[in-house]
């Protein structure tokens, strides 16, 4: 059975490393893996989506509505935007950070209140945490992606050492310590 992880966020937030890490880890675990994203407008603060699919044999590179086992979100509003893609028994792992989109900046719309509460009202399992603070605690605001991976790892049967090895394989030596700390903080 193919498992589906969607990574969503705002252009420039670092979802590339998260999908690289997952792809590397799952490949090492012996799965067929597909990772898909759309380049182009992503640098310019737009909404960005990455699909990670793994299983015995994966066909489609994309995840469709009602198919995601996990939505990993760098930003609360983006988690809410893609709720439709979640399986009814799927789980959202989200950073509680808010990044105002243009309609909010210009005052045309308000940033929606209590998005986590609203998602939970739908009966969705939401695991929300302040990843930015934890990333800063680890030593860099840029480590939000690895904090999220730490939290996601709790829901997988893959031994923690395998995750740590994947981090070591995917990040440059000088940032290894920092990222392992961020991973541990997210997993706690």
């Amino acid at each position: 059975m193919t498992k589906n992880i969607m990574i969503v966020g705002v252009g420039g937030q670092g979802s590339l490393l998260a999908s690289k890490l997952l792809g590397h880890l799952l490949l090492t675990e012996g799965y067929d893996v597909k990772v898909s994203e759309v380049h182009g407008m992503s640098q310019r603060g737009g909404s960005v989506v990455t699909y990670v699919r793994f299983g015995e044999k994966v066909y489609s590179p994309i995840i469709d509505k009602g198919e995601a086992d996990f939505i990993v979100s760098f930003e609360k509003l983006e988690a809410a935007r893609y709720v439709e893609y979640l399986k009814p028994d799927g789980r959202i792992v989200t950073n509680t950070q808010e990044v105002d989109p243009m309609p909010v900046i210009t005052g045309a719309m308000e940033y929606p209140e209590d998005l986590v509460g609203k998602m939970e009202e739908l009966g969705i399992a939401v695991d929300a945490m302040d990843c930015l603070s934890l990333a800063n605690e680890a030593g860099s605001a840029k480590a939000v992606n690895i904090v999220l991976m730490g939290r996601l790892s709790k829901y997988f049967d893959i031994p923690v050492e395998k995750w740590e090895q994947a981090i070591a394989d995917c990040v440059p030596e000088k940032f290894r310590e920092l990222n392992l700390k961020a991973f541990a903080l997210g997993r706690k």
């Binding site: 990772v35 898909s36 759309v38 407008m41 603060g45 994309i62 509505k65 509003l77 439709e84 243009m102």
Partner: protein
Amino acid sequence: MRQLMLGNKALARGLYEAGCSVVSSYPGTPSTEVTEEIAKYDEVYCEWAPNEKVAMEVAFGASLAGKRSFCGMKHVGLNVAADPLFTCSYTGVNGGMVICVADDAGMHSSQNEQDSRHHAIASKIPMLEPSDSGEAYAFAKKAYELSEEFDTPVIIKMCTRVAHSQSIVDPGERVVPETKPYVKNIGKYVMMPGNAIKRHPVVEERTRKLIAYAEDCEFNRVEMGDTALGIITSSTCYQYAKEVFGEKASILKLGMINPLPEKLITDFAAKVDKLVIIEELDPIIENHCKQLGLEVTGKDVFPIEGEFSQNMVAEKLGVEVGPSKKLEEALPGRPPVMCAGCPHRGLFYTLSKNKCTVLGDIGCYTLGAVAPLAAMDMTLCMGASISSVHGFNKALGQESEGKTVAVIGDSTFMHSGMTGLANIAYNQSNSTVIILDNSITGMTGHQQNPTTGYNIKGDPAGKIDLEALCKAMGFTRVAVVDPYDLEACDRVLKEELAAPEPSVIISRRPCALLKYVKHNKPLVVEQNNCVGCKSCMRLGCPAISMKGGKAAIDETLCVGCGVCQQLCKFDALQSQEV
């Protein structure tokens, strides 16, 4: 070693292993990474050409010389390169020649969603269509053999979902074939009428041979399952069909999309009860089947426009999809915006303030059309801004000349703006052309171009002097402004619009995302000074918002460019000491 590879990278790896020696391309989403990846191999000569036509002619020249060559582009780029494309079909090749075209169904980053298969059919050139990274890799290697065996260029068609998805590839070693000797052959390579007349039947004969080849080639395969439903498909649609039906349908998967087989299709059709064609964009396989007299379901249920997905394939063919939940609340969208510190912003603010009619072009700066700047009236294709402003002014004369401008980026100007500028110089319209020189090709992710002074590997290269070029064409009025300086932008724009002769304004400042660009500290809002007038909001900068009736700066985004400071009459936006 088995590894996850982007479709474009896998294609590049296949080209490399097949001994590709010369690459010339123009960047364009979603094709860019093919060339960026192959440029990492030192054994391959690789360059960014000024446009796709030049790139294809460079690749043709290398093929003529006996080497295996490549050029890559997006779908609209193949329109630009259509001229050499149609005739190198007649000449054929010496060393193998492979062309990659990447379509963008769904228009993630394009101005139309044309179907490049039409180009392959019209130019009578074989086209392969991989459905994942593994096939992109394998097809690239095989494409050279096909090219040399049938004496033709070969097109590999990618699409966004194959180009930008990673799947498993097991790469091998590079094997470089011997350079084919160049032998002068006027009848084959000099396409004047007397020779071309003799080459056309050669092309038709080649197509007949390629159809026979397509009947039994490794690119096309039948996967028999349940015979109640038969599906003919290709590319990413094959993956969606497998996702939905698995073994519950029989599938004819086409990897060679031009020319299409005949017997293979009719034999497959005879084995299944119902035949469905699943293809994105135009009904090309479908029409071919209909010409063969087959009854098929295709665009009567599937759309011509947009991308497909597994749910869509399921729903259109009556298969139930799983449930999902949705928030009822309307959420604010998150469209792409010009970055904080983008040098284009100051210039577009000036155009907006002066209520100019702006004929735009293709690049990041197309975002100048977005509110609140909304300073763009037209975007058509690469280079059209300059040619169209000439036509606009020729049509309306003095009525438009004093308030109409063309805006075009440095890379787009090199691509196909220069010829339009030559037309203004030659046919003399009183037009004002603004070149937005941000010293890079921004939209596609920072590629070098002839004005940057660096080549694809980042090494120093020839550098075209835009001012000297415009002057050499006969423009006596060539002004350079810093788009961070609003007063200068306004003054120069008014001067050049008022001038009784054509002029060029070069708005020059490097892209704020370039690594070498040094940023200032974020600005701070002096709360006592801010009166909440929202003047700064007219810039549409993502770093500025209103919080509690006063301006607020997002310090993670602000790069201290200071453009907003120039709009504040109350000294509320202040620089921090360095």
